[in-house]
């Protein structure tokens, strides 16, 4: 018989699940858990400076490792501060287990100090959630939370644990076994055969890869399919890295800020093979006009994605890796010389324009200079805005999980804590966070965490002293009435970073910016690399919001 408190049991179950690092902020309602955690020799607790930071650190760990990671918060404001990071994980299908403290059971519903309905509040932003009313339930709930987070389409799961449940002493026979993902759905062989037939019969097929390819670990299979069947391949924001950008079959990222040729190739497609993507509006523009000539094959682990936005001619519910493995032997080897020549011609006529790419003090040039100074082992995170799109367009991503960005929710403030999480999970890698001056201020307090943990995180700040993407939209679509998008006063980021204990480098004043940048990226430890970017530089091309992908401007 084993005897322990609910709090101790959670710690043991996390340890047994292989959790080595957790991020959180303590508070009254979760102190029993923290007390139990203080005795753990296996789990390193990283003290975030804001719960949203803790949530994104756990996400950063999960995005590089592919397995569920853990964040912690107390009740009330602790839990509300976590909400954004949980919602972000839901939209990007990132496995996460959030554990929150709650007021004691008897006080629930009394508007007790720091009480919010965490369970009710997180229903629509989690894959599933629990309010634990008896410590014995933890024996089922904790493993179930991990299993759910990692199974099928991954996602966030929240466990809300009242303080008295954490303190409750229970007796039990044995620990539940650590969990593994639930069995995958059996691939629909008839549908796969039909899909193979359609690929074999198509004249102008295009492969469209989404984040599901990364989640399923199927990048190499997707590349093999492309090579075997001669498929030009586009990637969503979430799938960048699935196929190396310099692969001859890559046609880069599609959608709102995709290259013109990419969207034009999709216009010509007679078959769209969609693997682990979900026809998001930023990727496909006006749904009715997307790929107007194409039949659709759609593979997804989540059956509710099939026929949600576009009706597929063949919809396959299954794990991307398994489906591709079954599909590959039935797909004929094709060179598709005519179609690929047409793709090449579109590419050379309508390439992505990257002006000033040789100048490290310009937007594309800075992205290029960072890439030149690093190899493919580095991890790249971003915040949200113009800088994010410039990196997505111009950075040479070559491997899955090299690129971490907030896709579905588009959360400013994601970049720095996610980079910290990536560096915690994989301390041997250099982690670069491309940020904007607006976004960086949303979780700037986590510079303190990066300094405390002495992590190899480099913030490359593209400072236009503006909410650039908003400024761009107002200029293009609101009659140049720019409102609330320019900062009247500039922040001295170098001083701020120094105050938090980071090294700093200012490319504005460097004699040789490329060399200064490369040296800063090579020095271990956290560093802010600052560069002023012209506010009048916009992200082009651009599909106007609500427009069709064929209607790009710029």
């Amino acid at each position: 018989m084993m005897q322990m408190t609910g709090a101790e049991l959670i710690v043991r179950l996390l340890e047994r699940q292989g959790i080595e690092t957790v991020a959180g902020v303590p508070g009254g309602a979760i102190l029993p858990f923290y007390d139990a955690l203080s005795h753990s020799e296996k789990i390193h607790h990283v003290l975030a400076r804001h719960e949203q930071g803790a949530g994104f650190m756990a996400q950063g760990m999960a995005r590089v490792s592919g397995r569920p990671e853990v964040c912690l918060a107390s009740s009330g404001p602790g839990a509300t501060n976590l909400v954004t990071a949980i919602a972000d994980a839901k939209l990007d299908s990132i496995p996460l287990v959030a554990i929150t403290g709650q007021v004691p059971l008897a006080m629930i519903g009394t508007d007790a100090f720091q009480e919010v309905d965490t369970y009710g509040m997180t229903i629509p932003i989690t894959k599933h959630n629990y309010l634990v009313r008896d410590a014995n339930e933890l024996l089922d709930v904790v493993p179930a939370a991990f299993r759910l987070a990692m199974s099928g389409r991954p996602g966030p799961v929240l466990i809300d644990v009242p303080k008295d449940v954490q303190n409750q002493r229970i007796e039990f026979e044995d620990y539940p076994a650590p969990v593994v993902p639930a069995p995958l759905p059996a691939p629909d062989l008839a549908a796969i055969e039909q899909a193979a037939q359609m690929i074999n019969d198509a004249a102008q097929p295009v492969l469209y890869l989404g984040g599901g390819v990364i989640a399923s670990g199927a990048s190499h299979l997707a590349v093999t399919l492309a090579e075997q069947a001669g498929l030009p391949t586009t990637m969503t924001l979430m799938a960048l890295g699935a196929m190396p950008v310099d692969h001859p079959l890559s046609i880069g990222m599609l959608g709102m800020h995709g290259a013109r040729y990419t969207n034009y190739v999709l216009e010509e497609a007679d078959l769209l093979v969609c693997i682990g993507a979900r026809f998001d509006d930023r990727a496909i523009g006006k749904a009715a006009q997307f790929c107007p000539k194409a039949k659709i094959v759609h593979v997804d682990i989540d059956p509710s994605e099939l026929d949600k936005i576009k009706t597929a001619h063949v919809g396959i519910h299954g794990d991307v890796s398994q489906v591709l493995e079954a599909l590959l032997p039935q797909v004929h080897v094709k060179l598709r010389e005519d179609w690929l020549a047409q793709v090449d011609s579109l590419r050379s006529r309508f390439p992505l324009a990257t002006p000033n790419i040789d100048n490290p003090r310009s937007h594309y040039g800075l992205v290029q200079a960072v890439a030149d100074a690093l190899d493919d082992e580095a991890v790249i995170t971003t915040d949200v805005g113009q800088h994010q799109m410039w990196v997505a367009q111009a950075y040479p991503f070559r491997r899955p999980r090299q690129w971490l960005t907030s896709g579905g929710l588009g959360t400013m403030g994601f970049g720095l804590p996610a980079a910290i999480g990536a560096a915690l999970a994989e301390p041997t890698r250099t982690v670069v966070c491309f940020s904007g001056d607006g976004s960086l201020k949303m979780n700037i307090q986590e510079m303190a965490t990066a300094a405390e943990e002495e992590l190899n995180v480099k913030i490359v700040l593209m400072n236009n002293n503006a909410l650039g993407l908003v400024y761009q939209q107002q200029n293009l679509f609101y009659g140049k009435r720019t409102m609330a998008s320019n900062y009247k006063r500039a922040t001295d980021f170098l001083k701020v970073a120094e105050g938090f204990g980071l090294e700093t480098v200012d490319l504005d004043t460097a004699d040789d910016p490329a060399a200064t940048l490369a040296a800063a990226l090579k020095r271990p430890g956290p560093c802010l690399i600052h560069c002023t970017i012209d506010r009048e530089e916009f992200v082009y091309p651009m599909v106007p919001p609500g427009g069709a992908n064929s209607e790009m401007i710029g």
Binding site: G120, I123, I296, P303, S304, D307, K310, T311
Partner: protein
């Protein structure tokens, strides 16, 4: 050709959904939240525990709508929903209840 799921078009054709769910506080919120945020009107709801009390049966009365298939898939995805069956309007469950709403 591929078609696009367009603006909802509710009809007056009734559909009865029968769900078997885990019986605990919160299941109703999970289910009703899915319908509410899509402004998908639920005309009638009925819920009672089953004999072993660990499970409940929920009956939902909705109108046929282009989005119903997607709605059903979303409901089936919920962890606490164990099964879902679809019946036509001829199902007796809500008809017999009507007596209590006169």
């Amino acid at each position: 050709m591929s078609i696009v799921i367009d603006r909802p078009q509710a009809s007056r054709i009734k559909v009865v959904l029968e769900l078997e769910v885990n019986n605990h506080a919160g299941v109703m919120s999970h289910i009703c939240g899915l319908f509410a945020r899509r402004a998908f009107n639920v005309e009638g709801i009925l819920c009672m525990p089953l004999a072993d009390a660990t499970r409940s049966r929920i009956w939902l009365l909705v109108f046929e709508d282009q989005r119903l298939e997607q709605m059903i898939k979303q409901v089936e995805k919920l962890e606490d929903v164990l099964s879902l069956q679809r019946h036509g309007a001829e199902h007796a469950v809500f008809e017999r209840l009507e007596e209590f709403f006169r």
